[in-house]
Amino acid sequence: MSGNSGINRRTVLKSGTGLAAAGVTGLAGCSSIGGNGGEYPSDDITWIVPFGAGGGYDAYSRAIGQYMPKHLPNDANINVENNPGGGSRTGTQAVWRADPDGYTLGMIDTVGNAAYQTVIEPDFDDYDITEFSYFGTAAWEPYGFWTAWDSEYETVEDLQNADQIRMASSGLGSAATNAGVVANSVMDIPSENVFGYEGTAESMTAVIRGDADIVPVNSSSARSAYEDEDLRPIIVFDNSPIEWASESQAAGELGHDGVVSVGRFERTLGAPQDTDQEIIDTLEQAWLDLVDDEEFNQWSEENSRPIRPKNAQETEETTQGAVETFQEYQDIFEEAKQD
């Protein structure tokens, strides 16, 4: 550079001072981290949502963030942060790596992760989904097979007798796909997978426009399509038919308990492993109190977000159960991976 370039000692000193000043100001702006030795929670809590803004996990988390603080001993704030990526694994890992002091919590997709670490990527070791400190579940929902309103298929038998049934969904690693793959195999449906759609909405649209015959989707996501007479359910992966679509068959009634166990997603509430049991108990109690909270229930009604609560132990059992069931289905996924 020529001697007249702008970078000389004076400039460096000036910018260095400027940087230092900015740095000090910035640091001064940070609030103290961690508690100040008082009763839990004595500071704000960070709540991580491993999904993008606007989705179901986000919606429930924000409602919890808004209405749960008053049920905690010290009324601390809950700050919800989105941390999407890696199919929810980025955010889940962020919770796993946080200090187990109760100040980082998150909403975790247990069934999806159970599938991933058990059958889709057995070498996965970023975390163990069964080792999180769960304090409850906000909601859960079964998936089911839905088909176009005017399609020729009405019952599972119709599907079983067809030459070929195309199933549209995102791909292995998505809870809906996992559910569909298991169901097809267990119920002997001659299926061919059409993967790559970005989420359930696109998969449903694919079936409506004729790309495929069936789509695995949870009931409430399909409801609007049902009311528009675009899609109707064939079978739901639950023990009883859908309330508002009673023509649907139920996997449990047909004897497919494994399908019921993994054909679902769960919105669980968790903390890093080895979080102090007292803190977990406090959180569990706050959650159970929130379940009866009037404002929370009003939110739930107005937004069609049903609350189907579980306590800490039930959550752990469901998670463990999902892992074990997926282990039984290892062959199914090996086959699917090779297609």
Binding site: A59, G85, G171, F195, G196, A201
Partner: protein, 501 residues
């Protein structure tokens, strides 16, 4: 027809009442600000507005969100023109000619053109959209994987036109873009590629990060070697320049109209995304122009076509979002969440009984676009001062903005390192004259092309024939062929001309 008119009358009544209009202005300003900062943009603006909307009635909430969306697109074009930094990914096409214009001291003209084409594009897009509403569902459902495939191949053929000077280098750049696009999880085959087991690469390389690096950061590096300001410090600009930009836009109204229609149409195709809309509009502007070679060096038609499409696309992208819950663009993903929060359920009703909600959003989009364009025209002169500040003051500030933007995108510090990497790559490309546009095209269109290809075969009963037996596919295939022939024809014409001399 009557319902359509009624719905829009209700919408106009809603929008122009108080305090709803105040909310519109507020949302627009928020959108404008967020649009200007790379890494922020529509999705973040909306996500932040969602809590603010708690307690608002449905109509006001819709106005708030739609006005922010309207503000973002113009905001992004300002930074694209002045700083070679696209505020949002679709603004990238504005940068191709907008920034060269700024370097020539014509930033005011560019902003004026952007403002005018944004406003007019939004209006034309709206008219076209309204005409499509009765057939919206059929249009959306008519696009299946084979059409997505050809749409992206058509987009890729732009590489050939864009790199007419040096086709080989253009192909190399495009090829590298394609290769990079394959990193990550591919749902269609359920395989993670080149991710080396990391969570970061699972989602592939993010397009905003690549753009920030290759264009913004690379430009900063380049500027630091030149030691002057973006535009010649002796250059002057005044209000007249801005008006000149507006007048030129009006003169080129056919470009505006075509771009707006393209923007709306591509916006409607779910999964195509807003960025493709502006790139394809840019391409058609170049093809149809009298002086295609000047594109990329400061031809105002480049700015006009890109921005007209950019504003029209949001109207189009609204349709698949409200009818099928399939977000037509990144910002629609968050908008969907906002809808659900306020009890707006996507579905047929939004095109029939509840059409007034849709109409409210569309009217708000147009009004906020007009508002931002006006603000743009009035403040353009002040904004252009940025281009005359010496670089040693500008570089550190923009650097900070770029890095913060990169981090804020996904709360991920690795993104910042990747921006630096792409910055170096981008700078290297400018030094050796490789087309960054071609790389970006490969990066964006690669996944769509591959997915379209794989899904088409999965759903086909006739094997590969599915690619040529569908009417829309055939049209797109023909357009692609024409697009590829143009540089060949041009070379042939040039060589003949050379012989005759």
């Amino acid at each position: 027809m009557q319902e359509l008119v009624n719905a829009f009358l209700i919408a106009i009544e809603t929008v122009f009442s108080w305090p709803t209009f105040g909310i519109l202005v507020l949302g627009t300003l928020v959108g404008l600000l967020f649009g200007m900062f790379p890494g922020l943009g529509g999705p973040v603006a909306l996500a932040l507005l969602i809590p603010m909307s708690f307690g608002m009635d449905q109509g006001s909430a819709m106005v708030l969100f739609a006005s922010a969306m309207g503000g973002v697109t113009f905001g992004g074009s300002v930074t694209a023109i002045l700083l070679n930094t696209p505020g949002t990914a679709p603004n990238a096409a504005t940068m191709f000619d907008g920034y060269p214009m700024a370097r020539q001291g014509r930033a005011g003209e560019a902003i004026g053109a952007s403002a005018a084409s944004s406003a007019i594009g939004a209006i034309i897009g709206l008219v076209f959209l309204v005409a499509l509403i009765p057939v919206a569902r059929s249009v959306i459902l008519a696009f299946q994987p084979p059409e997505f495939f050809w749409l992206s191949i058509f987009g890729l053929s732009i590489i050939a036109v864009v790199s007419m000077g040096n086709v080989l280098k253009g192909l190399i750049s495009g090829g590298v873009g394609l290769l990079i696009s394959f990193i990550g999880w591919e749902g269609a085959v359920s395989v993670s590629r080149f991710a080396f087991g990391t969570n970061y690469l699972y989602d592939g390389i993010n397009i905003i990060i690549a753009l920030l690096g290759m264009f913004a950061l690379a430009e900063l590096i380049k500027l630091s070697t030149e030691d002057r300001s973006i535009a010649d410090p002796e250059s002057t600009s005044n209000f007249a320049d801005t008006i000149k930009g507006v007048k030129l836009t009006l003169k080129n109204w056919t470009v505006v109209a075509r771009s707006a229609i393209i923007g709306t149409l591509i916006g409607i195709v779910p999964g195509a995304g807003g960025t493709i809309a502006t790139f394809i509009a840019y391409l058609q502007g170049q093809i149809a122009s009298d002086d295609p070679d000047s594109f990329g060096q400061g031809n105002i038609q480049g700015v006009i076509s890109s921005e007209a499409a950019n504003d029209a696309k949001d109207g189009g992208a609204l349709l698949p979002t409200i009818v099928f819950s399939v977000p037509g663009s990144a910002v629609m993903v968050v908008l969907l969440g906002a809808f659900l929060l306020h009890g707006v359920t996507p579905g047929r009703a939004l095109l029939t009984d509840e059409l007034h909600i849709t109409a409210t959003i569309v009217v708000t989009l147009v009004v906020s676009n007009l508002l931002t364009s006006t603000i743009g025209v009035l403040t353009a002169n002040e904004l252009t001062r940025l281009t005359r500040i010496p670089v040693r003051l500008i570089i550190p500030t923009i650097l900070a903005v770029v890095f913060v933007g990169a981090f804020v995108l996904r709360n991920n510090i690795t993104d910042v390192f990747v921006v630096v990497l792409f910055g170096l790559v981008g700078y290297w490309m400018t030094v050796y004259d490789y087309s960054r546009v071609a790389l970006v095209l490969g990066l964006i269109l690669g996944p769509i092309a591959e997915k379209g290809f794989l899904q088409s075969l999965a759903i086909s009963d006739t094997g590969y024939l599915i690619f040529v037996t569908r009417p829309i596919s055939l049209v797109l295939a023909l357009l692609t062929a024409i697009g590829l022939l143009i540089p060949l024809l041009k070379n042939w014409r040039d060589s003949r001309g050379g012989l005759e001399q």
